[in-house]
Symmetry: C3
Subunit: 259 residues, 3 copies
């Protein structure tokens, strides 16, 4: 049974999402179609890469992930298919995939197949569906087009080490207003080396001095820092709204001061 | 494998949608249920017809489409099943279907089957599910009730030709604030005849003088007109919000002045 | 074909929902996964219990319902599996299930299985998925852990009989702003005994003197009371917004004065 997932900024009111599902089922009636998210902010490649990066690996190997954000292609940003970690990804090489993977993917192919429409606004329906079904049926990547050596790069802001501090930033806020930063557990541990620390925010005088393993480790309404579901440092309030309380939004700075 | 789609104004928080899915799966455990949209504005037949019209044909022939907007029946607005273009539609004859199809559907039958509940507020669960499963299993339309010769008509505002101009109106705004009008590509071409033209808006002094094939044909932030995914004239801003910038909403006038 | 449903307060933008779907499909590729609702207000056990109670019984017997609200366990609130009315439920014993069922469930077992992660913030992915797949494949409840005799109780406010009146309260408002109360049809009938009555609201001078069977029993824009889809007294406005007009929200009082 082939699984095809969909990630987009379409929302769920318009005709875009069901059009793609209909087109998929017309070509592959037994495809299992799973929605990753369609509530990505319009055109927001960072948000899309965060959501997909934190769930795709839980799907069975061989799953095909269609990524439909800013899909119109041009010479510098072709439609591509990727194989990486046993998963397939189909989308436009607009930088999103460079944000998703920490290394160059194992295989990248340009998608060069005829589309069904004279218009170029809906390649997900007119191009990606065909490519996804091709891969889901066991077709070879090579048949989609020519190999590419690397991805179009979009610069991700990496945390900076400055003396005894890590300076990172907020990259995502979830429905509970838990705030996720670009500081990974690996980086934190390699810098911390069992020293004491203060997690500080650019726009608030609150401090956190401990990493916990669950929200419930602190009383309701109190701040908690943990790595949890993503491997990224997460700032939350147990049953509360950290982003609002701390005045934090995407790109705001987070500083961990050691010693 | 039978596909049954669902279009409604229920939203996705309440018990209505899962109740219907449960009832469908209880009667047909291997049904493939696909959501078209549940974010239709409450009671908005125009919006529902726009969304479904622009995606149903992409599903495989034989798909059964349940349409659950204003479903309570009365003498003038019975529950009906429709066969058209190889697809089945089940809903209430409240005018929505007259907005969806350009011609009288091939077959229309009143649905006259006993319902499971003493209440009449939820015919989707109590009537449409049975009818949909009947058709999805290959049952005959005739077994649902008596044939009807025509649909309850709701007047769609058609574009008007006035001298050297087409006067249409906005019928839908999508998540990106792209604005869709009731001016079709066919009408535009038959009136344009390679003349130059100006697309004008009632509430804004912006003008568009060209039809493009993709949003990216214009720089980011600029206006673009195209036919694209629906066959209806669409006004967009590349990576922007046309409805807000132009002050356009449903029913606002759009004028194409030729020559 | 095994059906597994999901109820949560995750919303549909973040990685939580697709992570769980991926984990389910990795363990059981032919599972049929159905979303009940993910738009439950964060941490709102009452809302979750209302939605699930009013739809779970429509699914086929043997369906496994994962309930993911306030899932972190502690000594008083363990992870549990329930069998009741031929359905399975998996979640945390935080009081939600005591709100869902009118009687003690037929079987309750604590879930005591190793989890895959060092973190305790996402037991749905790390614990519930395993338990759900175990049950969906026909595994025994007993293999999950030790039996429990009763649920953690959260006090539901029950309607009060006061002289010739029932005093209840609002427990849910749906997308149409129809208002649902905790007054059941059974209670109403046993108190009414064919007497005349007035339905009164704490914050509005409107009155309703009749129970109807459909919204369309009253003209558009007028108030209607009915039992309909839930068995609970529902106050609506035909094609209108009862909650706004009446100024009613969760926990506001509703009084039925008889005689």
């Amino acid at each position: 049974m082939a699984i095809i997932t969909l990630t987009s900024d379409w929302g769920t009111r318009d005709h875009y999402l069901p059009a793609v599902k209909g087109a998929l089922l017309s070509r592959m009636p037994d495809a299992v179609i799973v929605d990753i998210s369609h509530e990505i902010e319009p055109f927001d490649l960072n948000q899309a890469s965060f959501v997909l990066r934190n769930c795709y690996h839980l799907f069975p190997k061989g799953t095909v992930h269609i990524v439909a954000i800013n899909t119109e292609a041009d010479l510098e940003n072709p439609h591509i298919a990727i194989r990486h970690n046993g998963h397939y990804f189909i989308g436009t090489d607009n930088g999103l995939f460079s944000l998703m993977f920490d290394t160059i993917p194992e295989e990248i192919f340009e998608i060069d197949i005829p589309q069904d429409s004279d218009y170029f606004t809906f390649p997900t329906r007119d191009v990606f569906v065909k490519a996804a079904v091709h891969l889901a049926k066991g077709g070879a990547m090579e048949e989609l087009g020519d190999p590419l050596l690397k991805l179009f790069e979009r610069m991700a802001f990496r945390p900076v080490i400055s003396g005894d501090a890590i300076i990172g930033k907020v990259i995502y806020t979830d429905r509970y207003e838990n705030v996720f930063t670009n500081i990974t557990e690996g980086l934190f541990k390699s810098e911390c080396r069992n020293r004491s620390f203060n997690i500080e925010f650019s726009v608030s005088r609150y401090r956190i001095r401990k990493i916990n393993k669950s929200y419930g480790d602190v009383p309701e309404g109190e701040l908690v820092a943990l790595f949890s579901t993503t491997g990224n440092l997460e700032i939350a309030i147990n049953k509360g709204n950290a982003a609002s309380l701390l005045g934090l939004g995407t790109d705001d700075a987070i500083r961990i001061q050691f010693g």
